[in-house]
């Protein structure tokens, strides 16, 4: 019980299955947005704004923005699942209480939630990729690697989200990370313009602390089929390490909150 690192078991998948079942019960609500949203962004930014921007680093603006849309979707789908939705399940619906009355431990429950957050990222990214491929703005087949990558990126954002959920006194205080962390990340991670146009200190800050910057870098390498190994591998490593650490930190924090 007093292990320094919280150890979930494969019972975590039972929690994942519960969330999957719940998700597919309302699949229309869940599936329509990821198809419509990228089309809107693509039309407004890629083609609308792209008319004036033209090209960035020799790449048509629409192809520059497409991977950012995928990365943002990975972030939003997993982050909001493991903040607001998890908080509702934990605090209002008492779903966790019912789960830990079975052989599941709290570690299993939280690990299952994180795995589900990652899966949501994968589902939405895959749906979106189909749309973007139809518009011909992502390179194939290298873009297919975005699908497994979206699970890793989703796990990262889920773990970050779960840390906030664990320390948030109420559902309203989750607005802080949503507006003060997610929104700046949405804008300043090399999403709609390259990081290189920003002042050097901000570039360093973004690469050190903004997970989305790395997720965008990896995704863009894949959708443009132009991988520069140092950038690609260092971003992938950053994501892997931070994800591994925060996965366990978030479970630890949740355990501290719930096991009293």
């Amino acid at each position: 019980m007093s292990l320094p690192v919280p150890v979930p078991t494969r019972r975590a998948w039972k929690v994942w299955q519960r969330n999957r079942d719940s998700f597919f019960k309302t699949y229309l609500v869940n599936f329509l947005p990821p198809f419509i949203e990228p089309v809107l962004y693509l039309l407004a930014l890629g083609y609308g704004l792209g008319m004036f921007v033209g090209e960035i680093d020799g790449i048509p603006y629409v192809s520059f923005v497409a991977p950012a849309l995928l990365a943002i979707s990975m972030m939003n789908s997993s982050f909001f699942e493991c903040t607001y939705s998890s908080f509702v399940r934990m605090y209002y619906q008492k779903v966790y209480d019912a789960m830990v009355a079975t052989p599941l431990s709290i570690e299993d429950v939280i690990a299952g939630e994180l795995l589900w957050g990652a899966t949501r990222s994968l589902i939405y990214t895959t749906a979106m990729l189909v749309v973007l491929a139809a518009f011909g703005v992502v390179a194939l087949p290298s873009s297919l690697l975005v699908i497994p990558f979206s699970f890793l990126a989703g796990l990262l954002f889920s773990s970050i989200a779960m840390c906030f959920t664990a320390i948030s006194p109420s559902i309203d205080t989750l607005n802080y990370p949503a507006f003060l962390f997610i929104t700046p990340m949405f804008l300043f991670s090399g999403t709609f313009f390259p990081l290189s146009v920003l002042p050097q200190p901000i570039q360093f800050f973004a690469l050190a602390f903004l997970p989305l910057a790395h997720v965008v870098a990896v995704t863009r390498s894949l959708t443009l089929a132009s991988i520069s190994p140092p950038v690609f591998l260092s971003s992938l490593a950053w994501i892997g390490v931070v994800c591994a650490v925060l996965f366990f930190v978030s479970i630890h924090l949740m355990k501290k909150r719930l096991v009293v």
Binding site: P8, T9, R11, A12, K25, T102, A111
Partner: protein, 319 residues
Amino acid sequence: MQEIQADGGMETAESGRQTPIIEAQNLVKDYRSLRAVNTISFSVMPGELFGFLGPNGAGKTTTMRMIQCVSPPTAGDLSVFGMDVRRHPAEIKRWLGVVPQETNLDPDFSCRENLLVHARYFDIPPDEARARADRLLDFMQLLEKADVPIGDLSGGMKRRLILARALINDPRLLVLDEPTIGLDPQARHLMWEKLKALQSRGNTILLTTHYLEEAERLCDRLVIMDAGRILVEGRPSEIVRSYAGEEIVESESTPQVLACLREMGCRFEVYGDMVQAFSDRPREVARRILETCNPGRVFVRRGTLEDVFLRLTGRDLRE
């Protein structure tokens, strides 16, 4: 991720009727500076219906949570089915059915789906889960509500569904935290009937309740807790006999009546404008009050658990 292996702890529960299902020794639970459970010891034998009574904040729910392996004890020993709650939570919970105080059904699913999702947490195969779910819905008279979403159920139906859910893993021990709270008399009687039926099938049942009549009616043995301690333990009838007497004399508390009681050497308690007197010969006391002390009214009634409860825990309101 690795599966934690059970190390055969169930064997202790299988062998011999003497082994208690639950055994607590000097159990303590602290929440920061508050001592919620203060060095209690008790044991629950197989097949017993065992009750925990006490005012709010007495430590009943905390004790239940420790037995359910969701709240680790601060000190002392607690074993369920012969296994330590700290070391074998998953193996213990495998055989536990829990009815929590707060309704925590999964609102995303229908009645049947709630049972099926819960069955999956116990690794019950889908076909078996389906059969059990239908049997339990039938047992709790919810079969026609099988496909209704949770939000459309009445309070009583929700409590019944929670009991059905607690039974999905065929538990050896049922832990019920105020199972009949907020139920109408019909639903409460149905719940009692089901609990008795489960007990007669050999289930061990642990329950907390604020309804003393319920405890008196259902429990083989019970404890009354207050401020984290066990004040009394025993069979309801024995507890009533030794703490309140078989019968209690009640009268209006006029100065004259009180003087009479003092003269007779009777133990009594005044509350409001009434006085309760405790005696080995209640009828004689009542007759003497009636004949010589000029009471407004006087009557003898059967002693109840409520008398014991109020005597032991006082009449002050608890938060």
